[in-house]
């Protein structure tokens, strides 16, 4: 394509609609229209000019508003579909097969189809992420396609425009003027906080040009936000670990080298409906109990720098803190949150070794359910040997006891009982309220005495270094939105011809009412000729034409 030469002598890049220098219409269509199309100042946008190579086609695709809006609408519909059934993260199943079975069992054929289409993990599916990526590309390309030419054009604006540019503006007026009209107009416009530039016999007054950058600024904000979200895929930026901590236990914090956490106490408080809470009595009566507080009192330790890795004997106390919901523990860029709990987990069980017939006790033993020892020596020469420990006994498989999890939910013990009376030893398998004697009838048994319990706190350890980037992105977005929406770009061109005639034109990107209010004040004080809103004239003419059709 070739450059476009204007009558005024200026050479414009291909695709330009209004001469960059004088403002004359360069295409036949524009020359014949009553009003000039001022969007993007009649500059050459790449997407409207080239359509040959594959790159042109891709550029044009993504710079289209129609395509951008379509992507937004597809994303919106897809996001909504993902809420019809719960996403897999909220489903009580963890493996691929059990998840699939859960959807089929709970939601029938709807669930089966939903799962088969991949909607159970919609937001991390390839196509959903690809759509967000396309939206990001569209944001960049559509913005560049408009911003670059618009910026150049507004930066190089000439004061004097050709009369054919002026009389095709929506706000236009012409008429006789006095010698000092231009000067008076300039003074008044400056008073109204316009930037005024003069050149020979004309002036250009401009206000709020920065509002034109609003859309591009808010798009930059969104891009920064999306970039921040992407960064968390890079190791080191983002940590999300969970930590179950029993009361009294000290553990290394996962993924946080050198730090340890001790759970001193976990408590769960509910509203009582008395005293301070009396005002809530009715609500509490209706729903039962309402939780008031989840709290883990912790001690945070750090390994001294010179200690051996994993050595826990000389930890330094960093701080003591009650972690509560909404009040995470924060240190060194990490945060630890109160997320879950388990009350009354079994800690230890105490048994008595008794003679089955006489019920006489030969002594007691306590088994620690987290770290049990193998042999228990009782006074009087009896021994209990722990041959096998199954913390979460789930049944036998091929005659072998099995455990479902390593947590002491349903402990099972395979023990050998040796007493002075039975030196050869007797084997017994004990679970809660049940004893099996696999190798024949025994003389002695372990009788359950009592159990110790404690609470377990479920904590989440988090580090998210992308947060400041997301914050900056959000802030820039909000600034851009305000900049573009709450400010207007207003311009007036005024010229005085040699015979004293004043030409007057005005343009704004929005809020024409405000523009006219400004202009009225200038017209008043500088005695400018009356102006008309040519768009209103066109609308009125169209309306009259329509009504004419109806009545005839």
């Amino acid at each position: 394509m070739e450059n476009v030469q204007c009558q005024c002598g200026h050479t414009n890049p291909p695709g330009t609609k209004l001469c960059e220098s004088c403002g004359r219409s360069l295409t036949e269509k524009d020359q014949n229209s009553k009003l000039v199309d001022m969007r993007y100042e009649g500059t050459a946008r790449r997407s409207q000019t080239y359509n040959k190579s594959i790159i042109d086609k891709i550029w044009n695709f993504f710079s289209s508003v129609k395509v951008g809006v379509s992507i937004i609408v597809i994303l919106l519909v897809a996001a909504a579909i993902g809420t019809i059934l719960p996403q897999q993260a909220f489903v009580p199943a963890s493996t691929e097969a059990t998840i699939q079975a859960y959807y089929a069992d709970t939601y029938g054929s709807v669930g089966r189809v939903y799962h088969a289409l991949g909607f159970h993990d919609l937001y991390s599916s390839f196509w959903f992420i690809a759509l967000v990526g396309m939206l990001a590309i569209s944001l960049v390309i559509a913005s560049l396609d408009r911003f670059v030419p618009l910026y150049k054009s507004l930066k190089n604006q000439r004061v004097l425009r050709h009369p054919s540019f002026m009389d095709k503006q929506r706000i236009y007026g012409s008429g006789p003027g006095a010698e000092d009209t231009l000067e008076k107009a300039e003074t008044k416009l400056k008073e109204l906080k316009y930037n005024v530039r003069t050149d020979k016999n004309g002036l250009l007054a401009e206000k709020g040009r920065f509002s034109r950058w609003g859309p591009y600024v808010n798009h930059i904000g969104l891009i920064i936000f999306l970039f921040g979200v992407m960064l968390r895929m890079i190791p080191g930026f983002y940590i999300d670990e969970s930590l179950w901590l029993r009361e009294g236990e000290t553990r290394a914090i996962p993924e946080v080298p050198g730090y340890y956490l001790e759970n001193k106490n976990f408590k769960l408080e509910t509203y009582t409906g008395e005293g301070e809470d009396a005002r809530f009595e009715e609500a509490i009566d209706r729903v039962g109990t309402v939780v008031k507080n989840y709290q883990t009192d912790i001690v945070l330790y750090q390994e001294p720098e010179d200690s051996l890795p994993g050595a826990t004997d000389n930890l330094e106390v960093i701080q003591e803190y009650p972690i509560r919901v909404n009040q995470p523990l924060k240190f060194d860029g990490y945060a630890v949150y109160q997320m879950d709990y388990k009350l009354n987990e079994l800690k230890a069980m105490t048994f008595a070794l008794t003679n089955k017939e006489t019920e006489e006790s030969l002594g007691e033993l306590t088994i620690d359910l987290i770290n049990p020892v193998d042999t228990y020596e009782l006074e009087g020469g009896s021994t209990v040997e722990l041959l096998g420990y199954y913390p979460d006994f789930s049944g036998f498989e091929d005659g072998e006891p099995q455990t479902a999890t390593p947590l002491p939910n349903n402990p099972g013990f395979l023990v050998e009982l040796t007493t002075p009376e039975t030196p050869a030893g007797e084997t017994s398998f004990i679970t809660i309220q049940n004893t099996v004697e696999p190798l024949g009838e025994n003389q002695f048994k372990l009788t359950f005495q009592n159990a110790d319990t404690r609470n377990v706190s479920g904590l989440t350890v988090r580090k998210d270094s992308t947060l400041p980037i997301l914050g900056i992105g959000g802030l820039i977005f909000m600034i851009g939105v305000a900049q573009g929406m709450y400010f207007n770009h207003r311009r007036f061109w005024i010229q005085q011809k040699a015979d004293g005639t004043i030409l007057l034109a005005g343009h704004t990107n929005k809020n024409w009412f405000g523009l006219k209010k400004d202009l009225d004040r200038v017209v008043d004080s500088a005695k400018l000729p009356a102006y008309t809103d040519q768009q209103d004239e066109i609308d009125k003419a169209e309306k009259a034409e329509k009504e004419g059709e109806v009545s005839s």
Partner: protein, 394 residues
């Protein structure tokens, strides 16, 4: 009278003020017999005065309740929905003083009435806050959202007025169908309010034992006669109606029953209106739109979005993310309520691009404004009550 009684009486006062004001606004925009509108502004003034009195009472309700409960009354369905009704009226009052538009009152006030009536179908006693809600972010996040939604609703109200004036009701068209559909939906809400108030006033109660979807036995109290029964349900109340249809465990038959009663009563009401007046509801309202300035309605539609959208972004996304980061350790978790906030935001983003980039003004813009309100209502009703998630209040 205790403070909490004063609070709920103030809400009643607001409700009746809005009710009276609706009719006065209706009278104002109707015009006189000669077909002129000389007295529109005078009656408008009377109506807006009543509205403002109601609004002051409404604000009084809000802050007295805040004092009693010790937290911003935005923590459950009753409180949030009532607040939404209040911001709706607040938005209208601002617009009235800017543009002197009585017709807007005639549309906004009945919708606000319906919303407050809907809210009062939920348990309204002062309830304590669960740990996740015990923070100032409750007041900051929720109040910003509810104000933003009140403003965005103004866009829908102006859009609806625009449509009521321009849609040709004498010819069959998609526009006529959907416009009547919107009004039919409003009648269904009336159906919900009537049926639940009736069964509440007559103290209907029927307790059932049933088997839930995890194969556990549970009990449930029906406050409406059971059209649909829960899975394998057995009535524990003597001499009570047995369900007409039993449903599988997946379906919450109790909610389905409520929806069915509302549909039933609402539809009967709608059919009665049609039979008695021999007109569509839109046709009944259209004569009141004679004096509407379409350009002004289009302007309000757009203005409401450019103020509501940034506020919604701030409240429903920015503040929401900050709070979620503090409470749930992540700023975003694709919880249904979060997703629907995003859906709403994307919708209004599309609205703005279509209006500013594609020149969708006037009728197209009006439809978009109404759809936006539909999404907000969907988020309020369906997402809270049917799609369970972290935000399920009721």
């Amino acid at each position: 009278m205790t403070l909490i009684e004063i609070s709920s009486n103030l809400l009643y006062l607001a409700f009746f003020a809005y009710l009276i004001a609706t009719f006065v606004f209706g009278g104002a925009v109707k015009g006189n017999k000669k077909g002129s509108f000389n007295s529109e502004q005078r009656w408008g003034k009377v109506a807006i005065t009543i509205t403002v009195i109601g609004f002051l009472a409404n604000i009084g309700y809000f802050f007295t309740r805040w004092i009693v409960s010790g937290h911003a009354p935005l923590s459950n369905m009753f409180e949030f929905t009532t607040a939404f009704g209040m911001t709706l009226v607040g938005g209208f009052i601002i617009l009235y003083y800017l543009y002197k538009t009585p017709v807007l009152g005639m549309v906004v006030l009945p919708v606000a009435l319906l919303i407050i009536a809907y809210a009062s179908m939920f348990p309204s006693e002062v309830s304590p806050l669960i740990p996740a809600l015990q923070t100032n972010w409750l007041a900051i996040h929720v109040s910003t959202v509810v104000i933003a939604e009140g403003i965005l609703a103004m866009s829908a109200a102006a859009g609806l007025i625009y449509l009521l004036k321009v849609v040709d009701l004498s010819k069959k068209s998609k526009q006529r169908f959907w416009l009547e559909g919107i009004l039919y939906f409003l009648v269904l809400v009336v159906g919900f309010v009537i049926s639940s108030s009736y069964f509440t006033l007559t103290n209907y109660e029927n307790t059932f034992q049933y088997v839930n979807k995890d194969d556990q036995e549970a009990t449930i109290i029906y406050n409406m006669p059971p059209i649909f029964g829960m899975n394998e349900s057995v009535s524990l109340t003597e001499n009570a109606m047995t369900p007409l249809v039993e449903t599988p465990a997946l379906v919450d038959a109790s909610k389905l029953t409520t929806v069915t009663w509302s549909l039933l009563i609402g539809t009967i009401l709608y059919v009665l209106i049609r039979l008695i007046t021999r007109r569509r509801i839109a046709q009944l309202i259209q004569p009141l739109m004679k004096n509407v300035n379409l350009q002004l309605m289009d302007e309000i539609n757009y203005r409401a979005v450019i103020i509501g959208f940034p506020l919604f972004t701030l409240g429903a996304l920015v503040f929401a993310m900050i709070w979620a980061q503090i409470t749930w350790s992540r700023f975003w978790g694709w919880d249904p309520k979060e997703v629907w906030a995003l859906v709403t935001w994307l919708f209004y983003a599309a609205y703005l691009h279509l209006r500013l980039g594609k020149g969708w003004q006037g009728e197209k813009s009006a439809w978009l404004g109404v759809i936006g309100f539909a999404i907000i209502m969907f988020n309020l009703i369906v997402v809270n009550l049917i799609i369970a998630g972290l935000h399920s209040y009721a």
